[in-house]
């Protein structure tokens, strides 16, 4: 894989002495969708802002398309489109003028056909002559996306693109992101919605307290860290676990109707055959059984919690 963005030993300490990024190392492949997950204040926006030139790194190196973001900032930034987390837009200007302005800033000659297609793809063409302040929040966010796409970037940063966006629009946005990826644009997005990362991303990075805890293929992440549960619905309520089942990793539900068996889906032996055999011997009747794969959300919570408890243990 060819890295379009390469981050080495990146650290950022803000003026007040706060360490927002600590030793970040990350390669982002051309054409992939990378989702950055992390709780509030994790450093997602700081990371994006550093790559885009809004925040000066304290140490480390970042290249975009092989160009250093400090020494070759022009070449590096020309490749980047940024959609910021906050909706910041000139209230009195017209939609089309703001978008044209963005293209100009990036040194690109006027191209009305391109601007038209961008606005159309974001359902903003009808609003092109409206003043920004007359748009709804979701439309404003789309104007920000149009601005970022106006100069035909090869890398697009979307900082919480779907925050405060309704379900229909969110689906449309996902659609747009996929289309951009099909056109070869590399996309880095941050989100608090795990389902969004699960839905969209090729790879997922998890940041907490300025550290990149993990970056992994989405499928692999779910695979590696995925715990599976086998839920057994009992024919009759059970007061307590029979002694012969005590050796299994079983738990009885509150309503005494369900037994849950937790296992590693990818282990050599799941122990399921042995369990079912043991259950048959006890004579318990089963009404139903189902398995459940843990979601990214569980994985995420576990990682972040582990991180916190490690830290506490260390202190």
């Amino acid at each position: 894989m060819d890295a379009i963005i390469s981050i080495q030993n990146l650290a950022k300490t803000y003026d007040g002495g706060f360490e927002a990024l600590k030793d970040i190392n990350l390669d982002i492949a051309e054409g992939e969708i990378l989702a950055l997950l992390g709780p509030n204040g994790a450093g997602k926006t700081t990371l994006i802002s550093t790559i885009c030139g809004l925040v000066t790194p304290t140490s480390g190196q970042v290249t975009v398309g092989g160009h250093d973001i400090i020494h070759a900032f022009r070449a590096a930034r020309s490749l980047i489109g940024l959609v910021p987390q906050e909706i910041t837009i000139e209230p009195f200007a017209k939609v089309i003028d703001t978008v044209q302005f963005s293209r100009g800033l990036f040194g690109k000659p006027r191209n009305d056909a391109h601007i038209e297609s961008v606005l159309k793809s974001l359902s903003l063409w009808d609003k092109r002559n409206a003043r920004n302040q007359t748009l709804s929040g979701g439309m404003k966010r789309r104007v920000l996306i149009a601005k970022a796409l106006s100069h035909e970037p090869r890398v697009l940063f979307l900082d919480e693109p779907t925050a405060g966006v309704d379900v229909t629009l969110r689906k449309e946005m996902w659609e747009l992101v996929r289309r951009l990826r099909d056109d070869g644009v590399t996309i880095i997005l941050t989100t608090h919605y795990i389902e969004e990362a699960e839905e969209m991303a090729d790879r997922i990075g998890i940041i907490d307290k300025g550290r990149l805890l993990l970056v992994e293929e989405k499928a692999r992440l779910l695979h590696d860290l995925g715990r599976k549960e086998l839920v057994l619905e009992l024919g009759a309520p059970l007061n307590e676990l029979p002694a012969s089942l005590a050796g299994f990793n079983l738990s009885l539900s509150e309503d005494r109707q369900h037994l849950t068996y937790e296992f590693d889906a990818h282990a050599e032996r799941t122990g399921m055959t042995r369990l079912l055999g043991a259950i048959a011997e006890t004579g318990l009747s089963l009404k139903d059984l189902s398995t459940r794969q843990s979601s990214l959300e569980d994985v995420f919570l576990k990682l972040v919690q582990d991180g916190h408890s490690n830290e506490e243990a260390g202190e």
Binding site: D15, L54, L82, E86, T88, F92, A93, L105
Partner: protein, 253 residues
């Protein structure tokens, strides 16, 4: 150089001006007329001539300078403060633009607007008094240098300011008094000797004196010194801009 980028900023800023065209033109024209009524007619009827120039004509260069200084500072400071305030500055900072290119875009637009208003005042004045311009090339030179220097100052103020009060503080507290005490409406030679000495510490005296010389061929201080003063001012502005650029002061975290 990203000329396309500079041009985009320049055009965008000029559009902002044209959106409020009425205000931009009406208010300087109105205040010019008022100055003529108050100073030109009321006082002028008693003073007659200063340095051999009819009083009404004498105040024209000062009036233009007053407006150019105020307009340059206000336009440029507001121009860069506004994106900082509403947050759209992210776009300037993430574009392949150097700080110097951003400065050229904003300062260029602010200076252009100030010059346009200078021309409007000049034309308005021509309705009230007979004007002759002895050294037109020098007149334009002085105007240009002043507009650029003070737009630079405005840009610096806009970057420095943390709120609207600070943004208005310097124009109000520094520029206006300096201009009024800078011989806009009188000749420094009319002051008592002690005050003449004090006046020579006021940089605006040199600007107005030089500018007036380009109209009438008479000045309070030698023209060379005026030219030197404005050049020093311009250089100081550029130096401060350079320092800001080097340190990313108050625009980048």
């Amino acid at each position: 150089m990203n000329w396309q980028g500079i041009l985009s900023i320049y055009r965008y800023e000029m559009n902002r001006t044209f959106r409020t065209l009425a205000q931009s033109i009406v208010s300087p024209v109105l205040s010019t007329v008022l100055y003529f009524v108050v100073f030109g007619s009321a006082i002028g009827s008693r003073i007659d001539t200063v340095d051999g120039i009819p009083y009404g004509a004498f105040i024209v260069p000062g009036l233009i300078m007053l407006t150019v200084l105020q307009q340059s500072v206000t336009n440029a400071s507001f121009g860069i403060y506004f994106p900082k305030f509403i947050g759209t500055i992210y776009e300037l900072l993430s574009a392949p633009l150097s700080f110097i290119e951003i400065v050229i875009g904003y300062v260029g637009a602010a200076a252009t607007k100030a010059l346009m208003i200078a021309v409007i005042i000049l034309i308005t004045s021509a309705f009230f008094v007979d004007l002759t311009i002895a050294h037109p090339v020098w007149m334009v030179t002085f105007l240009l240098l002043t507009a650029i220097s003070f737009s630079l100052l405005g840009f610096i103020i806009g970057i420095w300011a943390k709120n609207f009060e600070q943004l208005q503080l310097i124009p109000l507290l520094v520029i206006t008094p300096l201009v009024f005490l800078g011989g806009a409406f009188y000749s420094v030679s009319m002051l008592p000797p002690a005050w003449q000495t004090v006046s020579f510490f006021n940089p605006v005296v040199y600007l107005i004196s030089g500018f007036r010389w380009s109209f009438f061929g008479v000045s309070d201080v030698p023209v060379v010194i005026s030219l030197l003063a404005i050049s020093v001012f311009l250089a100081a502005g550029l130096a401060v801009i350079w320092v800001i650029f080097r340190t990313g002061w108050r625009i980048k975290a």
